[in-house]
Amino acid sequence: MDKILENLQTFWSFTGFANFTTDYLIMICFGLIFLYLGIKKDWEPMLLVPIGFGILIGNIPLFQGLNVGVYEEGSVLNILYQGVQRGFYPPLIFLGIGAMTDFSALISNPKLFLIGAAAQFGIFGAYAISLAFGFDPAQAGAIGIIGGADGPTAIFLSSRLAPDMMGAIAVSAYSYMALVPVIQPPIMRLLTTKKERLIRMKTPRQVSHTEKVLFPIIGFLLTAFIVPSGIPLLGMLFFGNLLKESGVTKRLANTASGPLIDIVTILIGVTVGASTQADQFLQTRSIWIFVIGACSFLIATFAGVLFVKIFNLFLKEGNKINPLIGNAGVSAVPDAARVSNNVGREYDPTNYLMMHAMGPNVAGVIGSAVAAGILLGFLG
């Protein structure tokens, strides 16, 4: 009988209940909130559901030495986490994004590139705020990239500049991307007049096949020569797009934009979620990361919308840009563009801004990858 009790006691010490603390409970609640928002509210379910469940996986209180935790070297979760830690998931996601993205809106109206550049103020605004809060420059750069509104870019950069803060940065970036429909509209309304919101933009012209093929080649060569440290992201983004637009590699493009990106999204979501173990995640600095991350989104949206308003001063009547597409420069493809469209239609139900907003939206992806390359070059 004593032996049985002793074994039961040993078994109990292995269970999650025996190692349970309130920190784990808090993190499990976070995971459940993510799952609720993803499943019930349909907010970025592709991201929030894997991350939410990953948070549950990572926050089961473990008996150390079982070799199952994400931070235990050689465990299955640790091996899957290598893609995040060593930064090879983000370029693969960029390959898929490139293969999915139609840059026609941007090619037909190249001035939209500039909106994508303006919205990157969010990154460097957050960088300055982080420095003011006492983070060192490398950490500040990693936090600042949240303003790029691009999960893979945030993971790629933080894995190099501040690996210990990557979990909080990635969760913050993905959370705010999911919250784009909540964060951006009030700022867009605040900064625009009713007349501006009703601006109808010219229908984009049709883009030829040659232009579409030239875009990824020229785009890559130019950006990579200017910022070589961004090659992993820019190279894969433009390569994916070339697979799509060349017309001769449909199978490769389909794989990159379908099964490959789905697999990597699952792995990146679950492992980023699992990396938020209570002991690593529940720190005061995580709260600051979330606060500064929110600021970066606000600054980026402000900068994008204000830039369009200023830009309009130099454009002729008939060529003016609806400032409601300024928010789309923060990337967060395609949610930010959808927000532009929805807010625009609130004031004129027949004014569809989606197509126009996709221009700055995809320019924002290029802009944030360039910005990440610059930060890596200066601080890496």
């Binding site: 941007l106 090619i107 037909s108 190249p110 001035k111 590139f113 500039l114 994508g116 550049a117 990157q120 103020f121 990154i123 460097f124 605004g125 960088y127 300055a128 982080s130 420095l131 003011a132 060192d136 420059p137 490398a138 500040a140 109808r200 010219k202 229908t203 012209r205 883009v207 030829s208 040659t210 232009e211 030239l214 875009f215 020229i218 785009g219 130019l222 950006t223 200017i226 910022v227 320019a363 290029i366 802009g367 360039v370 910005a371 610059i374 930060l375 200066f378 601080l379 890496g380």
Partner: protein, 285 residues
């Protein structure tokens, strides 16, 4: 791979695994990939480049990126991979050759002054690891302040970049201005490039010609007129095409849509739950 540093007279400097002090040669992997130097040659004689072959198949000859390896010039090769069959006191030059025994990777002449007893425990090496001449003329080489076997010849501060950034730009404004300028420059160049490319592909003459033809038809005139002349040419084309399509497919002509979607069930054994569920045994009464 580069010859990086050597010490001729070693009296109280580094000791080898046998506890002996002898001359040493440091080789540095200046690349960012692992290099296996197994099979390469070290020599002190230009007439015999194959004097000492570094044994192949030894895991220790795989030199990691930016790492150093020490060879003891003690003329006792039987002591292992890293002990060569010559010493530096009698040598005029050190030559590092590829596995083909002909292509010289790097060479450096030994100044006779380094063999003087006053130069004991003073090494000669590249001022910066891997940087300088590979022809033996000694450019980039100097008598070093301290011997640095298996370490960097000049100290490198790993945290230099962020640290320097913090000192130079404590508030981040310079970084913000600089980085935003780069982002803008990159995207402005793309803007100008694609603006020029679009001029080639839009062919305004042809478009004008086409539009004249379209405007001449009564239906095309009617559409812009209905919208106060604000509709663009593309919208006109879209309206015409949609009208023609609906006229061709007469069943699509609806003044009002019912918004009722009818799903017609089709029976198949694959979706029949009676076929899929395990059947319970029938009880005989």
């Amino acid at each position: 791979m580069r010859l990086n540093e050597f010490l001729v007279i070693n009296t109280n400097d580094f000791q080898d695994d046998y506890g002996q002090q002898s001359s040493w040669i440091e080789i540095f992997n200046a690349s960012y990939g692992t290099v296996d130097i197994g099979g390469c040659y070290l020599s002190d004689d230009p007439a015999n480049l194959k004097k000492y072959q570094i044994p192949g198949g030894d895991i220790l000859t795989k030199i990691k990126p930016r790492q150093h390896v020490i060879f003891w010039a003690d003329n006792q090769p039987f002591r292992g991979t890293f002990h060569v069959n010559f010493d530096l006191l009698g040598a005029k030059e050190i030559i590092f050759t590829k596995g083909d025994g002909k292509s010289i990777i790097d060479r450096i002449k030994i100044d006779p002054a380094l063999k003087d007893s006053t130069m004991a425990n003073i090494s000669y090496g590249r001022v910066e690891d891997g940087i300088g001449s590979i022809t033996g003329d000694g450019e980039g080489w100097a008598v070093l302040d301290r011997t640095s076997a298996s370490t960097n010849n000049s100290m490198i501060d790993k945290t230099a970049k962020p640290q320097r950034m913090k000192e130079m730009d404590p508030y981040g404004w310079m970084m913000a201005a600089l980085a935003m300028s780069v982002v803008f420059i990159a995207l402005i160049i793309l803007y100008f490039l694609f603006k020029q490319i679009s001029k080639i592909y839009t062919r305004p003459d042809k478009e004008k010609g086409d539009s004249k033809e379209v405007v001449a038809t009564p239906s095309a005139k009617a559409v812009p007129a209905a919208k106060g002349g604000k509709a663009s040419e593309d919208e006109v084309y879209a309206a015409i095409v949609a009208a023609l399509e609906m006229w061709k497919e007469s069943n699509q002509l609806h003044d009002e849509e019912s918004f009722v979607l009818t799903i017609v069930p089709t029976h198949s054994a694959w979706n029949d739950k009676h076929e899929l569920l395990t059947k319970l045994p029938l009880m005989k009464k």
